[in-house]
Amino acid sequence: MLIEVGHFALVLALIISVLLIVVPSIGLYQNKTSLAQLARPLVWAQGFWVALAFFVLMSAFLSNDFSVKYVADNSNTQLPLLFKASAVWGSHEGSLLLWVFVLSLWTVAVSIFSKRIPSDLINQTLVVLGAISFGFLLFLLFTSNPFERLMMPPIEGRELNPLLQDFGLAVHPPMLYMGYVGLAIPFAFVLSALIRGQLDSTWIRWTRPWALVSWSFLTVGITLGSWWAYYELGWGGWWFWDPVENASFMPWLVATALIHSLSVSEKRGAFKQWTVLLAIGGFSLSLLGTFLVRSGVLTSVHAFATDPTRGLFILIFLFVVIGGSLILYTWRSSLLQQSNPFSLLSRETGLLINNILLVTAMLSVLLGTLYPLILDTLNLGKISVGAPYFNAVFVPIMILGVIALAVFPYVRWKKDSLSRVFNLLKFEWICVVLLTLLSWVFIADNIFVLVAVGLFIWVVNHVLVLFIKRLRSKAKLSMSFIGMIVAHLGIAVFVLGATVTTQLGIEKDIKMNIGETQTIAGHDFVFNGVSPHSKENYSGFIGDITVFKNTKKVAQLNPEKRYYQTGMPMTEASIDPSITRDLYVALGEGLGGGAWSVRIYYKPLVRWIWLGGLMIAIGALFAAIDRRYFLRIKS
C-alpha cells in the first residue's frame, strides 16, 4: 500500500499546485490578503507530498520491492545500498521525480527565506513556481509514472546501467538538477515582476542571490559530471561536447551572463531589459535541455527516454513557457525604466562585452548541438558535430572573455579614462610578458600553453592587485568582492588546467606482456599481470601495474575489466591522482598468453580543471551571502 500512498501523494501535489496557481492569484487581484498569503502554506503542503512520494520510491528500492516496475527494471538484490538509493534517479521516471522534488525544495526555500521581500512579489513568484510544478507533475503522472506496479512481480530485478553503478550517480544528478531547476527561481521572479508590472529595484535585488546560488549548484553539477566521466568512461577525457553535456552547459553560459547583467542592473539600473531576457533564456535553455534528454531525440548515456509522447509533452510545455514569457515581456517592456547612461570606457561596457561573448558562445554551442538534429529531422542526411567544431568556435570567444575578465574589474562604473586604466595595467602587462617568457624558456614552447599561462598570470596578478588596493584604501571587503576574486581565480585555474592537460597530456594504447615496462613522461609502468576478480554485483579481471619514477615506486595501479549481470563489459580505470599530474591506466582486452591491451595516460594539471570549477562555485556562494542581501527593511 505504501507505493499507492506515494502515487497518491504525487496526485495530491498536482492538485495542490492547481490551488497554488488559482487561490493566491484571486487573492492578489481581488485584494484578499488571506488568499494571497495562502501561497506559502500551499507550497509547504505541495513540498511535503512530493518529498513523501520521493522517499516512498527510495524505500521501494532499498527494500527490493520488485512489484514496482521501475524498481524491477533498475535494481536487484545484489546492488550495493548506495547504488540502490541512487538508482532512484538512475532512469527516466525517477530522475523526473527528482526534478520535481528539487523544484519543490527550491520553492519551499524561496517561501522560507523571503522575509525581506514584499509579500505581493513573493506570492506572485510562488504562483509562477506553482505553474512550473504543475507542468512537470502532469508530465510525471501521465507519461512517466514511477509507481507503476507489475502484475507478476519478478523474484529478482534487472540491473541498473553498469555505467551508473558508481558514486558519481549519487552526487552528479542531484547537484546538476539543483542548478538546472534553480534557474526557475530567477525566471519566476522576473515573470512575476512582469505580470505585476512592477519592474523596480526590488525584483532585481532579490533575483540575484537566487541566481547566484543556482548557478553555483549548476557549476558544481557540471564539474562533478566532468570528473565522473573522466574516471568512469575509461577514455581519460574530461569533456566530450556530448549533446547532453552541452544541454547543461548552455544554461550555465546564459546564467553566467545573467549574474553579471544583474550586477549592473542592481548597481547602476542599466541593462534591465537584457536581464529580463537572460532570466527567461536561462530557464528556457534548462527546459530545452530537459527536452533533448527526455524526448529520445538524442542517443547518449544520459538520454533514457525513447517515448515520443514524452518528447511531445515537453515540447508543448517548452513552447508555452518561452512563448508566454516573451509575449509577457513584449507587453510589459515599456514599463522598464530607461537605462542610466554610461560611457564607452566603463565597467558597464565591460560587462556588456562579457554578456555578448557569453551569449555568442552559447549560440555557437546551440548551433553545434541542434544542427545535426535539424538536418536529420528534415531528412537532409546525418552529420556529426564534434570537438573540432566546438574547439574552433568556442575557445577563441572564451579567450576574449578571459581577457575582458582581466581588464574590466579595474575600470570604474559609469565612466573612466583610458590613461588611468593604462597606468594601472602597464605594470601588469610587463609582469605578464616577463613571466610568460620565463615559462617559454623553462616549461613549454607550446603556443596554446603559453597563451594559457599568460592569461593565468594576468588574472592572478589582477586579482592580487585588486585585493591589495582594497586593503590599502581600508575599504571593507564585501563578500561580493571576495566572491568575484575567488570565482575569477577559479576561471584562471580552470583555463590553465584545461589547456595544459589537453596540450601536454600523453596517451599510449599498447600491448603489454607480463613483466614488460613502458616509460611515459619519466614514469616506468611495469605490468605484473591480470587476475580474476569479483564482487556482489559484478565479476571480471583486475590488472596489476606498478609505477616507478627514477627507480622509486610511486604508485600501484589496479585497473579493472568488469562484467555485470547483463554481461555488459565495463572498463574501470585506475588513477594515481596528484595536484600536478594524474597517472591513469585502463585495461583493454586480453590478447592471449598473459598479454593485455592497456591504455596509459599522463595528465598534467588535470585536477586544476575541477579545482577551478569548485572555486567558481564557491565564489558564487560568497557573492550570494553579501551583506546587502541581509538588508533589514522596515515597514
Partner: protein
C-alpha cells in the same frame, strides 16, 4: 474508484493544514514602496562609503546620487490597497471539496485497470489460472503490450500449456524481437515440444540471442546446449567455460553449468 483510509487521511490532512492558514493567515510583511525605499537608501549609503574611502570622485558621487533619487521617484507608486476579508469556512469547504474530488478522480484515471498482486497482503494473490485469465482480458484491450504477452507465455508454460505459450511468445516476439529473455523462453518452449531438442526455430532463436549479447551467461549456457545437441562438444565446452569464467563463484547457476560441462568432458573422454 479506489478509496482507502490512507487516501482519505491524506486529503483531510491537506485540507485541515490549508484551512488553518485561512483562519490564521500569515501576515503580509512589506509593501513594494517600503522595499524600494530601503534598497535605494542602502545604495546611497554604499555611495557615501565609496566616496569616503576614495573609490569614486565627487562628480561621480553627485551623478550617482541623482540617479538613485530619479530611480526611486519612478518606482514609488503608493500602492496602498484595501484588504478585503474572506469567509474562511466557505473557502475551507471549497478547498476540501476541490482537493478530495479532483485528487480521487485523477488517481482513479491513473490507476491501472488490473491491480497487481502486491506482496503486502492487501490484495489476495491470484492463482495461475486467474492470472492467465486476467492477462488474456487485459491483452484484448492492450494487444501491443510486449511484457504482458511475455508474462502470459511464461504463465502458460507454468500450467503446462506449451502450444498456447508458443503462440503468446510469438506475439511478444513480433512486438520486440530483440529481448534476450524472451528469445530464451521462446526457444525453450519450442524445444519442450521437440523432446527438449534445440533445432530449427529454437536454434535460430538462441543464435539470435547470442548475436545480441555474446557475454550473457544464460545465452552462453543455452548456446552450449545447442552445440551439444548438434554433437559439437568442443563448441559446447567453449561456451560453458566462457560462462563459468564470467560468473561469480557463488552464482546460483554455477553448479548446473559445471555438471553439464563435466558430462560433456566425460563424453569426450569416452
Amino acid at each position: 474508484m479506489i478509496l482507502s483510509w490512507q487516501f482519505v487521511l491524506m486529503i483531510v490532512l491537506s485540507s485541515l493544514f490549508l484551512a488553518w492558514f485561512l483562519y490564521r493567515p500569515i501576515k503580509a510583511n512589506l509593501s513594494d514602496d517600503d522595499s524600494n525605499i530601503s534598497i535605494n537608501r542602502q545604495r546611497q549609503d554604499e555611495l557615501e562609503l565609496d566616496i569616503s574611502q576614495g573609490l569614486i570622485e565627487k562628480s561621480q558621487y553627485q551623478e550617482a546620487e541623482e540617479e538613485i533619487i530619479r530611480t526611486l521617484a519612478s518606482e514609488l507608486n503608493n500602492n496602498e490597497s484595501k484588504n478585503i476579508t474572506i469567509k474562511p469556512l466557505i473557502w475551507s469547504m471549497m478547498i476540501f471539496l476541490f482537493v478530495g474530488v479532483l485528487s480521487l478522480s485523477v488517481y482513479s484515471q491513473l490507476t491501472p485497470k488490473i491491480i497487481p498482486n502486491a506482496d503486502n497482503g492487501i490484495n489476495e494473490p491470484l492463482s495461475m489460472t486467474e492470472s492467465i485469465n486476467n492477462l488474456e482480458n487485459y491483452l484484448i484491450e492492450n494487444p501491443e503490450d510486449f511484457q504482458a504477452w511475455k508474462m502470459l507465455g511464461l504463465a502458460q508454460v507454468g500450467t503446462g500449456n506449451i502450444d498456447k505459450s508458443i503462440e503468446s511468445f510469438e506475439k511478444a516476439f513480433l512486438i520486440n524481437p530483440n529481448d534476450i529473455d524472451l528469445l530464451l523462453q521462446y526457444a525453450s518452449a519450442i524445444a519442450a515440444n521437440q523432446d527438449g531438442k534445440f533445432y530449427g526455430k529454437s536454434k535460430i532463436l538462441i543464435e539470435k540471442a547470442l548475436s545480441l549479447d555474446p557475454q550473457s551467461i544464460q545465452v552462453l549456457y543455452f548456446s552450449g546446449i545447442v552445440a551439444a545437441h548438434e554433437g559439437n562438444l568442443n563448441g559446447a565446452i567453449e561456451f560453458w567455460e566462457k560462462a563459468l569464467y564470467l560468473m561469480s563463484n557463488d552464482h546460483p547457476d554455477r553448479n548446473i553449468i559445471e555438471e553439464a560441462l563435466g558430462m560433456v568432458l566425460n563424453l569426450q573422454v569416452k
